[in-house]
């Protein structure tokens, strides 16, 4: 832990984490962002709301998710590895935590509809799910290319009653889906909440989503203690926007645990990005020499984002968390290793974190270390893709 600084507290009153964060949105959206901030601050300190949030997470979302000791992998690597099983949450990833919080908040604000962006569809399916459960209307913006690549997830969202709008602007992928959702939000902000999917966007989203995901770290820290682990040596999580990482880090931010975020090499905003402003936030972004945003390229759709949540940019700058990148070629192998040794097929996103552990055991991770892997999601959504890739290789 760096000196006496305290980490993962609320940002300043205008949403800054150090020099990152803030609220860079059109004036038309400022009132909605302010309203949301007020509503969130009130709700989050209202035990009726937080009780209801935890109740729905428990009864509907499947929380607490367990912490699984990865016995066989631990033995192979000479580490003590535990996995926080977000893959067992409803809809198959940590995304549900956030959407349950935001849809409850939507109702509290008296709004009747949510919109959301989605890349591969995980956040879209989660939002559609929570909206169905809460009786809210739901529209999901999804890059046209992604609607084609992930046609089954489009169908899932439709089954859940959501309208999926293919976004035809720009690169027709996630980044443009966010742009489009913002554009649409301008037109319907009175009755509609924009349910953002990660710790990104304008204040209060990065903070609010982190808070709504922090249940991961809170649970994990207690569960590890019950398993006899006072404080793990490392916590490792993959980072797209950074919500699962932020959620798990939150449980360990003010301990001496090393916090490690793993980005996709083709979407490494910390490794290859520079400060910039996009989607309502100042953060680290992939951009060209003229400040035009670059597309991210990763085998895993959930890490295919050219930015990172602003609090991560701050944690990186302050040295409290470290960020590394893993290339596509190591991801498939990591997915296979975890499946074979532990009987858990992880999401491709999660497999980045696994790959880093495999790579660094005995190097950056001293033998004998206790490691908490945040198993952010299950790989069911990815098996068709992995099969194609392995076929093409053989």
């Amino acid at each position: 832990m760096t000196d006496s600084k305290v980490f993962m507290t609320p940002p300043d009153e205008r949403g800054h984490f150090g020099t990152f964060g803030g609220r860079f949105v059109p004036e038309a959206l400022m009132p909605a962002c302010l309203e949301l901030e007020t509503a969130f601050v009130e709700a989050w300190s209202d035990s009726h709301f937080t009780d209801e949030y935890r109740k729905v997470l428990h009864e509907f979302g499947g929380r607490p998710t367990p912490v699984t000791p990865l016995h066989r992998l631990s033995e192979q690597l000479g580490l003590r590895i535990f996995a926080k099983r977000e893959d067992l949450a409803h809809t198959g990833s940590h995304k549900i935590n956030n959407v349950i919080g935001q849809t409850l908040l939507t109702k509290r604000m008296g709004k009747t509809r949510v919109i959301a962006e989605t890349g591969a569809g995980q956040h879209g399916v989660a939002t559609a799910t929570a909206a169905a459960r809460m009786g809210l209307e739901c529209t999901v913006y999804m890059g046209e290319i992604d609607t084609e690549r992930q046609a089954l997830n489009v169908f899932r969202m439709e089954l859940l009653g959501a309208t999926v709008v293919p976004v035809t602007s720009g690169s027709r992928t996630l980044k443009d889906a966010v742009n489009e959702a913002m554009r649409e939000w301008v037109t319907c902000v009175q009755d509609t909440h924009y349910c953002l999917g990660s710790v990104m966007g304008p204040h209060p989203f990065p903070w609010m989503v982190r808070e709504m995901q922090s249940i991961i770290g809170t649970e994990a820290s207690q569960q590890l203690q019950q398993l006899g682990v006072e404080e793990p040596d490392l916590v490792v999580a993959c980072v797209g926007g950074g919500s699962n990482a932020a959620g798990v880090f939150a449980g360990f931010a003010n301990s001496s645990t090393r916090l490690i975020g793993i980005e996709a090499a083709g979407g490494s905003a910390v490794g290859k990005g520079s400060p910039g402003v996009l989607h309502g936030m100042r953060s680290l972004l992939l951009q060209d020499e003229f400040g035009q945003i670059e597309e991210a390229f990763s085998i895993s759709a959930g890490l295919d984002y050219p930015g990172i949540g602003p609090e991560h940019a701050y944690l990186a700058a302050s040295g409290r968390a470290e960020y590394f990148a893993i290339g596509d070629e190591d991801v498939i192998n990591a997915l296979q290793v975890l499946s074979l040794t532990e009987g858990i097929i992880p999401a491709l996103e999660t497999a980045h974190a696994v790959a880093w552990i495999l790579q660094e055991a005995g190097k950056q991770i001293p033998l004998g270390s206790t490691v908490l892997l945040n198993l952010s999601g299950r790989g069911d959504k990815d098996v068709a893709q992995v099969r194609e890739i392995l076929r093409a290789q053989s």
């Binding site: 860079f24 949105v25 004036e27 037109t187």
Partner: protein, 256 residues
């Protein structure tokens, strides 16, 4: 007071309603000629859109134009070079997203705007709360910062924005991104709320796409901004003549 505002206040004082067409820099090789044609047809100031990869406040037409401009290799520097060819007396106002200036350097950006003849800047994703550094960079280079007011802005925000804006105050007629619209919008209400707290020139934009809309909007404000409808003509292959007759039509409608 920034020179832009002095100019626009004088224009208002002369009894003339301002007509401000919007162009995306670099969308065609001859885009500067289009700007000239607009001035010739009676534009009072020009908005110069600096293309950005992720134009969050823009509808499909301007998105498409920005994409074409970027694909043609347009950069902040290159469009400033193009502007050197432009000889006009009307003020030029840059319009872009904050990342362009953030990345170029705030101080350096403001200097570049000034040296390229742009006396104002509209940055729609830079709200008042985040604008301090940019405003001080602009202060040193006589660049006016133009803020937008939206139909959703509450009274206290309108008051702060109207006080902070320089050159003119941009009154959004609609809760929408740029683009054509048949809906007349709430421009009149927005303008009257701004006028209640400030005497800064106030122009209506967002969705003004026909001369009739422009006439109606200018009758309750100090001027109008015309964007997507004009950009569409250029996307359709229109040349300087087409721009001139389009802008001329708006001029006549406003002046009637």
């Amino acid at each position: 007071m920034k020179s832009l505002e002095t100019y626009l206040r004088a224009l208002r004082a002369s009894g003339r309603k301002a007509l401000v067409p919007y162009f995306v820099a670099g969308v065609t090789p001859h885009w500067v000629q289009h700007v000239e044609a607009a001035v010739h047809a009676g534009a009072d100031a020009i908005e110069i859109g600096i293309p950005f990869s992720d134009p969050m406040m823009d509808g499909v037409v301007i998105q498409e134009a920005a994409l074409r401009a970027l694909q043609a290799g347009t950069t902040f520097d290159s469009l400033c070079t193009d502007l050197a060819k432009l000889s006009t007396s009307v003020p030029l106002v840059a319009m872009t997203y904050f990342n362009i200036f953030h990345h170029y350097g705030l101080e350096r950006s403001a200097g570049k705007l000034q040296s390229s003849g742009m006396s104002g800047a509209i940055v729609p994703d830079l709200p008042l709360e985040e604008a301090d550094q940019w405003r001080s960079a602009c202060a040193a280079h006589d660049v006016a910062n133009i803020f937008l007011v939206a139909p959703s802005s509450p009274a206290d925000r309108i008051s702060s924005i109207a006080k902070a804006t320089e050159g003119f105050c941009y009154a959004s007629a609609r809760m929408a991104v740029t683009g054509k619209s048949n809906n007349t919008g709430e421009g009149a209400r927005v303008v009257s709320e701004i006028r209640a707290v400030s005497d800064v020139p106030t122009y209506i934009g967002i969705g003004i796409s026909t001369p009739e809309q422009a006439r109606a909007a200018s009758s309750v404000s100090d001027g109008v901004i015309v964007g997507s409808a004009l950009v569409q003509i250029i996307l359709n292959g229109g040349g300087a003549d087409d721009v001139e007759s389009f802008v001329g039509g708006f001029r006549r409608a406003i002046d009637e």
